[in-house]
């Protein structure tokens, strides 16, 4: 049984593009999604080697949300996320080498091997951090937005989180505060219908998540998270709103998680969802979808795609080698930075 058919989802009207897209921009979006996919697949294929001693939470199927949102952001805008970090981190421009070093528990990991896969950060590109506690980053990002407002920084603050995060009270406390203070913050709820193996059915009473945010006083919408341009436009509007003092925005982006909650591979066989559901959603692959569109528009073809893939493959290869050959931390690295000077 397909519990969540694509066609049953009611999206808000897709926001209109403000101007014609530059072909480079579109190809950039495509490349960014493809790169994230390929990196995830590479991690997945090496996970059984047991050298990345870290949980992994793949975003395969959900790349468009990371890429679409981050395409609307500047380097100085800040992104935080939850345990499902990698797509957000990479889309915002986080260093692949530093990320892989972190997964391999190396000293030069982006968090010096203290954070692990659920706590990436790359402050040089505005990827400010994450929390392994579901919803933990939501108040934190709201506070970042408050300080940006207080210090009159031109900075938009964005937090990614899953559907289950909206079951945590602190999310609603944060939304209330953001609306009260008109904060420059964008809440991106990546609704993939599942929390680990628990479907929305056993966690929420069939109400629309984004409508709850609306009732809390936020500009809210539900967009098709398989369409990177829909995501981009919704995020662009939200960024403009934030920059012009128009307050927070809540975007529910619906896209499917093709893999299991954590680890490599799909785990549908265990029974919590129908493998047919996964297949059905794979028809709406955000990357394939954009590719076809761009081929139709004659902006992309097989040859270009393949050379792109080769390039990315090389980058990935190099990054893995970097990580694997990096030094491990030593005992003396354990006790630094307990307190800040």
């Amino acid at each position: 049984m397909i519990r969540y058919p694509y066609k049953d989802i009611e999206f808000s009207p897709a926001p209109r593009p403000k101007k014609k897209y530059d072909p480079d921009f579109l190809i950039g979006l495509y490349r960014s999604m493809l790169r994230i996919r390929m990196i995830q697949e590479a991690i997945e294929s090496r996970y059984h080697e047991d050298q990345m001693k870290s949980p992994i939470h793949l975003v395969i199927g959900q790349e468009a949300t990371s890429v679409g949102v981050c395409a609307a952001l500047r380097n100085t805008d800040q992104v935080y996320s939850s345990h499902r970090t990698q797509g957000n981190y990479l889309a915002k421009g986080g260093s692949l080498k530093a990320m892989l070093s972190e997964l391999y528990c190396r000293l030069n990991g982006c968090a010096g091997s203290r954070g692990g896969s659920m706590h990436l950060l790359d402050k040089s590109v505005g990827y400010a951090g994450s929390s392994a506690i579901v919803a933990g980053s939501v108040p934190v990002t709201t506070g970042a937005a408050f300080s940006a407002q207080l210090l009159k920084k031109d900075q938009v603050n964005v937090v990614f989180f899953g559907d289950a995060a909206t079951e945590e009270g602190a999310v609603w406390e944060s939304l209330n505060f953001a609306a009260l203070k008109s904060l420059p913050v964008i809440y991106i709820c990546e609704n993939n219908f599942y929390s680990v193996c628990s479907s929305l059915e056993v966690r929420q009473p069939g109400v629309d998540i984004y409508k709850k945010a609306e009732a809390f006083g936020l500009n809210s919408c539900r967009i098709d998270g398989s369409q990177v341009l829909h995501v981009y436009e919704a995020a662009r509007e939200a960024v403009e709103r934030a920059q012009s003092g128009g307050g927070p925005t809540f975007i529910e982006s619906v896209a499917y998680r093709w893999r299991g909650h954590g680890g490599a591979g799909d785990d549908s066989a265990s029974g919590y969802r129908d493998p047919e559901e996964v297949k059905a959603w794979q028809e709406f692959c955000p990357i394939e979808g954009l590719y076809k569109e761009l081929v139709k528009q004659k902006q992309l073809d097989e040859v270009r795609k393949n050379s792109m893939k080769e390039e990315i493959q090389e980058e990935i290869q190099e990054a893995f080698e970097h990580a694997i050959n990096s030094p491990n931390p030593e005992e003396k690295d354990l006790s630094t930075h307990v307190y800040s000077d």
Partner: protein, 346 residues
């Protein structure tokens, strides 16, 4: 976590089941306890994130919902604070919730309901109500669990009046203490350890209780008293067993319950050995180690023949990476080193 699992399984396999009887895995022992409780008492219900997943939560709840229905065994929204209050209210109103969490870290979301509500109602209602609820969680360690997924917070709660706190270390105790906890009329916290959960042991069939508030000797010896619970106590047992080659022996006390604390057994042993080493899976500072160390210096001072020692976690967050973790967590060698120091008086 394929690597960690494998490591642990092999380790568990290496441990012998010494007593006679039916050997069960720790996880099976826990599931048996829940099954028996659900069978026995229609007022018992089990809830938690993923308890109805096909593997069950760590295997502890596998298929329980098929047997007892999803009214009594159910998956929940995340909402940890809300659900803790919901359990307290359900307990006040005649049922016996057993609320399972993957990690104690998530209990930090629930301290308001746990500490200011569940633990207080019986007292502030002047005994007119009670709150028979169990909150279970499994301490994490390894495979990148890191600072937000491997906190052992029993020490933060030890000072909270009205709570009971259990930390089993064997399958036998895990089952017997779970049954006692469900049977108890107070809010009881059970802190399991993910690594203890990989062990096997002799477990009687049917319902039996391990009494709350009673420790037990795991080893008898002369040179010192080692006291603690859970995984760290198991490491201490490995250490003292190895040290027997060097002629060192100890009373090893598994407290099993941290609150109420079995003071008697500690003082009994101290009288004989004169030295106490307290071990815990949590921070050394201000937690279980501190409480027992202070207790001994307060009420057992005249029997003390050397400094109290404690082995727990240092005052820094848990790092996520594998290498750093090896430096961070105490192991049997570090424990053996401290024991040698205590015996030699250096």
């Amino acid at each position: 976590m394929p690597w960690a699992e494998a490591l642990l399984t092999s380790k568990a396999a290496g441990q012998e089941v010494t007593e006679e009887g039916r050997a069960l895995s720790y996880v099976d022992a826990l599931r048996e306890a829940l099954t028996l409780a659900l069978e026995l008492d229609p007022k018992v219900f089990v809830l938690g994130q993923g308890v109805n997943d096909s593997p069950g939560m760590f295997g502890v709840t596998t298929d329980l919902h098929k047997k007892f229905g999803t009214d009594r065994v159910f998956d929940t929204p995340l909402s940890e604070e809300g659900l803790t209050g919901i359990c307290a209210g359900a307990a006040l109103n005649g049922t016996r919730p057993v609320y399972l969490h993957n990690r104690p870290d998530f209990l930090l979301l629930t301290f308001n309901q746990l500490v200011s509500h569940a633990a207080k109602f019986h007292y502030i209602d002047n005994g007119q109500s009670n709150v028979p609820m169990v909150v279970w969680s499994a301490i994490g360690r390894g495979w990148g669990s890191g600072s937000q997924h491997s906190q052992a917070i029993q020490g933060f709660l030890l000072g909270v009046p009205g709570l009971k706190i259990i930390m089993p270390s064997t399958p036998y105790d895990a089952k017997g203490l779970m049954l006692s906890a469900i049977a108890d009329n107070n809010p009881v916290l059970i802190f399991e350890h993910r690594w203890a959960m990989k062990t096997k042991g002799v477990v009687p069939e049917g319902i039996y209780h391990v009494p709350l508030g009673k420790g037990i000797y795991r080893r008898r010896g002369e040179d010192l008293t080692i006291v603690g619970t859970s995984h760290t106590l198991s490491l201490a047992i490995e250490a003292i067993d190895e040290l027997s080659k060097e002629g060192i022996s100890a009373d090893v006390i598994d407290l099993r319950t941290l609150k109420p604390l079995d003071e008697e057994i500690i003082f009994e042993s101290l009288k004989k050995t004169g030295k106490v080493l307290v071990v815990d899976t949590g921070p050394e500072m201000a937690g279980v180690c501190a409480e027992i160390g202070c207790l001994v210096a307060e009420k057992g001072f005249h029997d003390l023949r050397g400094p109290v020692r404690r082995i727990g976690l240092p005052d820094s967050p848990v790092p996520a990476g594998y290498t750093l973790e090896q430096f961070y967590f105490p192991d049997k060698n570090r424990i053996a080193k401290v024991i040698r120091e205590m015996v030699s008086g250096t």
